[in-house]
Symmetry: C3
Subunit: 337 residues, 3 copies
C-alpha cells in the first residue's frame, strides 16, 4: 500500500510487504523512543487525539509517539458533553475537527464510526479502536513484538506456533492479530478457550484458507506444550450480558511460573494485550512471571510507541528526513531496568 | 483599541477599525493554518486553556491556534472537583492560574465570570464563552467569514442583507454578531423566528439607532428571498425550562436544497454557528446542502483558527515577527477537499 | 542526596544541604518563570503528568514548570475508567507508563500508592500527593517562600517563629512543612488549633527531639502575637466523617486586617497552602487582606513553579546547561501587578 496521506482503519489494508515496511521504519525509531536521540521532524505539526471512549494506555502511547517526532498534541477525552451528544453527525464533527490538525487518531465505542468519520476528514485518520471491531495499531504492535522476540531466538514469523488463550470470542486484539498472521507462511494456531468463547468460525475459515494449521483445545496445559508464543487474554467483561456471566469464565486458564516450567518449551514467549487482571478471581497471568525474561508484555507496550511513530512518519512522508534531523539527548536518561 | 496586553471580553470593545485590523492579521495567518508554512514565534509561551464548561470545538480551536504559533497549551476541562468547588473565589483562582501562563482563555457557565476573573489576572484573558452572555471570538469569526464570502462575490460587509433564522432569543452567537454588524454601514437585518423566540428589544433598538434596517418575519420562505447571507441557528435546548418546551420550537424552520433553489438568490451564503442538530426532529440545515458550494459552515470553523491566531498575535505583539520566523512545512499535507 | 535520576517521594529524603541546593536552583529559574528568558533545555523530553485524583493547581503547576524548560506534557486526569479500575496492578501500570515518558508526576488518593508505583517505574517519579500521606513539592515551595520572605526582611529560616493555624490534624501540607523546618536551627512553632484537631504527638515529638520549641494554643489572637510567619489552613472537610462534623470547625479561626493590625508584629508574613475557603461560613483568611503586601499566598503558588522546575532540572541533570540554552522572551509580557 502507499502510506502517504492514507487512513489506517483496518488490518485488512495490509499485505505482507506493507507490514514489513512498517516494521523496518519502527526499527529506525528505537533511538528516539529509547531516548538516545531527539528528532524534531514534525515540529509544528498537530495531532488531534480524539478519544471519545476512555483510554489511558493507547491514548498516551499515540500522544507520546507524536511528541517523540516533535509534534504537538491536542486531546479530547470525553463524549458526554460533546457536540455529537447535541445531535451533530460524524460528518460534521469530522469536517470541523480535521480543520484543526494534521492527523487524527480516533477511538469511539461504535463499530464503524471511525471509518464513517474518516470519509469526511480532510486529514489522515488512524483507528484507535472502534468498539468490538478493529484496533489495527494493537495488532501491528503484537505482530512486531512476535517478530522481534522470534528474531532474538533465531526464528522468523514464518513457521511459528502460537497458542492463543482465553476469551477468543470477544477479544478484538486476538481477531486482528490472527488476520495479520495469515499473511505469513505456515503458522500453527492453537486456540485454547472455553467452549462458549471459541474463536468464531469466520476467523477459523480465513486462517485455514491461507494454508495454516488450527488446533482447538479447552485445556491450557496440553495446548501450550509445543508453542513458541503464548498469547493470553483477559475475559472481556464489558462485552457480556452481566458481570455474573463474565465471572463464570474468569480464572479458567491461569498461567504461572510453575505451569510454565513444567509444560512449556524453554524460552517460550509470553504475551498479553494488557491490562492483565491481577485480581484474585481472574489473575490469568501470574505476577510470579514478572522476573521471567520471556515475559514480553511490557516490551509489547514499548513496541507500541515504535509502531505508532512508524505509522505517523510513513503517512506524513518524513521517514527520509529523520537522520538529518536527529541530535543526541542532552538529559540524564539511565533507565533502571 | 490597543491590543497589546489587552483582555478580550466583549464585542463592545471593538470599533470598525479594530475589527478590520484583526481581519488583516487573520488573513496573514492563512499560510500557517493551511499548513504551507510553520512559525515558532511563540515558542516557549504557554496558554492556559481553562474550560470550566465543556467544549470540544472551541477548546481545540483555541489550542490549535496557539500551537500553530509555536506555543504550548496547558488545559483544564472540568469544574466539579476544582478549587472553585471548594469555595475558592474567582479572584484567588485568577491570581494563581495567571502565574502559570502567558495568556488565559476561559469558558465558564456563569455570565460575567470571565470579566471578574480577568480583573484579578496578571496576564491577558480571552472570553471563550460566559454562559448566555458573550463569546467574542465566535462573533469575530462569523463576521470574518461574511467578509471573505462577500469579497469572493465582489461585495463588502457594507450594504449587506442578512437573514437570521431560528432561536434569536437565546442564541449568544446571534446577539454578538448583530452588535458587530452595527459597526458597518447600511445593513438589512431580516429576523426570522417564532414569536416567542424573537430577538429582544434592546438589540433591535441598538441596530435601528445605528441607521440599519430591521424586518421581522415568522416565515422562512418569505424572509430569505432577498438575503445575501442566511444565518441559521439551532434551538438552544439547554436554555429552556424543559426539553418538552424546547422541542416545540425544534424543526420549525428547515433549510434544504429544494427551498434554497426555489427561494434564494443564486450564491446566497449559508452559515450556522454549529453544531447543527442533524436529528430528524430538528435538522434545521439539511445534509443535502453539503455539496452546495455556498454552504460556508466549515469555512466558519476553519476561519475560527485564523481569528484566534490573530487575537493571540496582536495581544502578545508578535505580528511583525511572523515573516522572519516562517519556514515551509516539511511533511505531506495534501488535503482531500 | 544525589538528585540525578532520583524519585521524589517524601520530605524524609531531604537534609538541610539538599533543601538548600534545590532552593539555589529554584532561584536560577526566576528569569524563565517571570518570562524574561526562554530555555529549551528539555526540548524533546516528555512528562507523564498522571493525576489519578483531580487537581487543577498542582497539575497545571507541574505541567507549566516542564513546559518552561522546553518539554512536552502528556496528561491523565481520571481514574474511573482506567486500567487500574479493570484490575491492573500499580506494578503493571508503572511498567507500561514509564515506557512513554522521561519523568512521571503522580497523584493518587491512596497513601503509599506513589511509592509502590515508583518501585516499578523505569523513569524518575515525583509524588504529587498520595492521599493524606505526602506532597513533598508543596512542603518545599512553602519552605522556599518562607526563606525568600524572611530574606527580604533580613532574616533566615534559622531562629524563625512560625504560627500554624487551623486543622493541624488532617493538613498534609502542615505535617510536611514541620518536618522540613526541623532540619533548620532553633525554630519556634506555635500551634493554634481546636483541641480535636491538634497536631498529632508523633510530629510534636519529632520537632522537640530536634531541639526546637513548641507552644500550643487554642486562641488565635494570643498565638500570633510574636510570630514571623502565620500559616493558616482550611478545614480538610473531605477527611471528616460528615460535612456536619467538619462544619463545627469551620470559621473558628479567622484572620483579617483588623486582627492583623491589632495583634501582629509589623510585616508578619501571611501564608496558606490554598485554596482558601472564601465562603461566609469558613473565610479563614479574609479578602480584606488582599492588598496587604505581607500576604504571601500568591507568591507561594508562583514559587511552586520555580521549585518544580528545580526538581526537574536536578533530577534530569540539566542545571549546568541552562545559561547556554537561554534567549530573551520575544513577546509582550508586561504583568499587570
Amino acid at each position: 500500500m502507499d502510506f502517504k496521506g492514507s487512513h489506517i482503519l483496518s488490518v485488512d489494508q495490509f499485505d505482507r510487504h506493507s507490514v514489513e515496511a512498517i516494521f523496518k521504519v519502527a526499527d529506525s525509531m528505537i533511538p528516539y523512543a529509547s531516548r538516545q536521540s531527539v528528532t524534531r521532524v514534525l515540529e509544528g505539526a498537530i495531532l488531534g487525539n480524539m478519544f471519545f471512549e476512555p483510554s489511558t494506555r493507547t491514548r498516551v502511547s499515540f500522544g507520546c509517539a507524536w511528541n517523540l517526532l516533535g509534534g504537538e498534541v491536542r486531546e479530547t477525552t470525553e463524549i458526554k458533553s460533546s457536540a455529537i451528544a447535541k445531535g451533530e453527525s460524524f460528518y460534521d464533527t469530522a469536517r470541523v475537527l480535521s480543520g484543526y490538525s494534521d492527523m487524527i487518531v480516533m477511538r469511539h465505542q461504535t463499530a464503524g464510526s471511525v471509518e464513517e468519520f474518516s470519509r469526511a476528514s480532510r486529514v489522515p485518520v488512524i483507528n484507535g479502536g472502534d468498539g468490538a471491531n478493529e484496533h489495527p495499531s494493537q495488532a501491528l504492535l503484537d505482530l512486531y513484538t512476535i517478530s522481534r522476540e522470534m528474531a532474538h531466538r533465531g526464528q522468523s514469523i514464518d513457521n511459528l506456533h502460537i497458542a492463543l488463550v482465553g476469551d477468543l470470542k470477544f477479544g478484538r486484539a486476538v481477531h486482528s492479530l490472527c488476520m495479520l498472521l495469515t499473511l505469513f507462511d505456515n503458522i500453527h494456531f492453537t486456540l485454547i478457550s472455553p467452549e462458549e468463547l471459541k474463536l468464531e468460525p469466520q476467523y477459523i475459515e480465513k486462517i485455514k484458507s491461507s494454508a495454516h494449521v488450527v488446533t482447538e483445545s479447552t485445556e491450557l496445559q496440553a495446548g501450550i506444550q509445543d508453542a513458541d508464543i503464548i498469547y493470553v487474554t483477559r475475559t472481556q467483561e464489558e462485552r457480556f450480558a452481566s458481570s455474573e456471566e463474565a465471572s463464570r469464565y474468569k480464572g479458567l486458564f491461569r498461567l504461572n511460573q510453575a505451569i510454565y516450567t513444567e509444560f512449556c518449551k524453554p524460552n517460550t514467549v509470553i504475551m498479553h494485550p494488557l491490562p492483565r487482571d491481577s485480581r484474585a478471581d481472574a489473575n490469568e497471568l501470574d505476577n510470579d512471571l514478572n522476573e521471567n525474561p520471556n515475559l514480553a508484555i511490557f516490551r509489547q507496550t514499548d513496541n507500541g510507541v515504535l509502531i505508532r511513530m512508524a505509522l505517523f512518519a510513513l503517512i506524513l512522508d518524513v521517514v527520509e528526513q529523520l537522520p538529518a534531523s536527529s541530535r543526541p539527548v542532552n538529559w540524564y536518561t539511565a533507565r533502571r531496568f
